[in-house]
């Protein structure tokens, strides 16, 4: 039997919008293998962000189940979900979400310190090195280029050794060339540190870099598409 690091079964998310019911997700069975790099592609409003938020424990489903790293998120309380996110998930956002008053190194180790754990200095240094940030470790985010800021965000996601990294349009704010560069690097470090990576994008070119593409449309996974899905 295949073991999945992420598995959703019949996932549904409905919102009420005035008299309407919006079906953001309408029965999604989505699975990710360990150390796989999956791109979820779809237009805005297709439900791809909602799916990512469910997997990351940022949102709760109307119906259906989410399993991540062998645990069901359904029964978790708010506190448990917060701990789950802190320990198991590394997030990378479109707008980097770096703390402007902390330098690169401080930003990278912040989640570990917030969790009250010891910082593995060697490991952190290694991450900064592969992401080519060693020289910039003392720099404040405001002094960095967009690509460098996103690299710092990648380092932060890796530093806590999460079970899975979720990236929400990580190249959305970057020009084509540096976006491509950052994603290439993300792909390389994910392999190097044996990380599982799920990324959402609307950019076909970016999605092409993944091991597998999942196409989502009107809250459902479109069958028969994707590379070797």
């Amino acid at each position: 039997m295949e073991s999945w690091i992420v598995e959703t079964r019949g996932l549904k998310k409905y919102y009420r919008l005035g008299d309407h019911i919006v079906r953001a997700l309408d029965g999604v069975d989505f699975t990710v293998r360990e150390q796989e790099f999956v791109a979820i592609i779809g237009r805005s409003g297709s439900g791809k962000s909602t799916l990512l938020h469910m997997v990351g424990g940022l949102d709760t489903p109307t119906e259906g189940e989410v399993m991540v790293a062998g645990r069901s998120l359904s029964g978790m309380t708010k506190e448990e979900l917060a701990i789950f996110r802190r320990r198991k998930v590394g997030f990378i956002f479109q707008n980097y979400n770096l703390v402007p008053d902390l330098n690169v190194y401080e930003n990278v180790v912040l989640p570990i310190e917030l969790d009250g754990k010891r910082v593995d200095r060697e490991f952190t240094a290694e991450i900064l090195d592969v992401l080519k940030l060693t020289e910039k470790r003392e720099a404040l985010p405001g002094m960095l280029s967009g690509g460098q800021q996103q690299r710092a965000a990648i380092a932060r996601a890796l530093a806590s050794k999460p079970a899975i990294i979720l990236a929400d349009e990580p190249t959305g704010n970057l020009d084509t060339a540096s976006g491509h560069d950052v994603l290439g690097l993300l792909k390389v470090v994910a392999k190097q540190f044996q990380q599982t990576l799920v990324l959402i994008t609307h950019d076909q070119d970016i999605a092409q870099m993944a091991d597998r593409i999942v196409c989502i449309e009107d809250g459902q996974i479109r069958k028969g598409r994707g590379l070797h899905a």
Binding site: K117, E122, K132, D181, G184, M209, R212
Partner: protein
């Protein structure tokens, strides 16, 4: 004597003792937690544990440490077994490659002898096929040996700061005869000064495999263009051809082992060139990608991290 004062003092003493005991207990718990965590960190990071003398004490930490030490030992033992297995595999592979070399060389030799015998027309035709198949077998075996060596980590990739231009030139030089034979125009646009940390021999092999593939899938009169560009993080080598292109749904498959485009089974090859190329780049913390539309040629991009 004022009994109430005595009671107060006694109660005070009791309270202080209780607080002090609480404090000690708490400290012990914290200390224990810290020890367990640091021991686990050491095990996880591969530093391992030594058998300390706390292991023989009957304290909670002593018992726990003893267990942790055993876990660590089992783990290392398993790792060692894995390593030994890899060693054996390595020997087996080198044996296979060594032992098959001689019979294949002999087969080729006898085939040459046969050519000098007066064979009938049919005989010569069969001999031609035999030679072709022997060549294929030879190539297959060599490729498989190469592949298994790369995969089991037997081959060491040595990345050294060197001019990427020279590596590209080496690969292009090797492909010139095949391109010329097919009447394919080959052009290179490349900055000679760019230095990149890479393994010259293996990177050359990767570039050659991509070029070889381009020649194979480009018809006579087409062209192949090699270019290089330095980006913020990666140096990019691109190989663009005017061949038949690759349908999007096959683009991920072409990098898998033994993949062959269904339409061209008559071309030689076994479908491991691109697989090897990808492996070589991955081992150097780079990657490879393809951009193509069916019928509009293909562009393979090889990325190596900038020094």
């Amino acid at each position: 004597m004022d009994w109430s004062a005595v009671t107060a003092v006694l109660a005070g003493c009791a309270a202080v003792t209780a607080v002090w005991r609480m404090y000690r207990l708490k400290r012990e718990v914290y200390q224990f937690e810290e020890r367990v965590e640091s021991a686990l960190d050491d095990i996880l990071s591969g530093k391992g544990m030594t058998e300390g003398e706390e292991g023989v004490t009957d304290s909670l930490w002593g018992k726990c440490r003893e267990k942790l030490w055993r876990v660590n030992r089992i783990w290392t033992k398993k790792e060692e077994a894995g390593r030994r297995e890899k060693e054996l595999m390595k020997e087996l592979i080198s044996d296979i490659s060594h032992q098959t070399r001689t019979p294949i060389a002999n087969m080729k030799l006898y085939q040459e002898f046969l050519q000098e015998e007066g064979l009938s027309g049919k005989g010569r035709e069969f001999l031609g096929h035999l030679e072709g198949q022997t060549e294929k077998l030879d190539f297959l075996l060599q490729s498989m040996v190469k592949m298994s060596r790369l995969e089991t980590g037997i081959i060491h990739i040595r990345q050294q700061e060197a001019r990427l231009y020279e590596t590209i030139a080496g690969a292009v030089g090797e492909i010139v005869p095949a391109a010329a034979k097919k009447g394919i125009e080959l052009s290179v646009d490349c900055d000679e000064e760019i230095m990149v940390k890479h393994d010259r021999k293996w990177t050359e092999e990767a570039i050659f495999n991509v070029l070889d593939n381009a020649v194979k899938y480009t018809e006579s009169g087409g062209s192949i263009h090699v270019a290089m560009k330095c980006q913020e993080v990666f140096a990019k080598i691109s190989v663009r051809d005017t061949g038949k292109g690759i349908a999007p749904e096959r683009q991920a498959e072409i990098f898998t082992r033994f993949y062959r485009e269904p339409e061209i089974h008559d071309e030689s090859g076994i479908g491991i060139g691109l697989y090897l190329a990808r492996k070589i780049l991955e081992l150097q913390n780079g990657y490879i990608e393809v951009r193509s539309q069916e019928g509009e040629g293909a562009e393979f991009n090889l990325y190596l991290p900038n020094a």
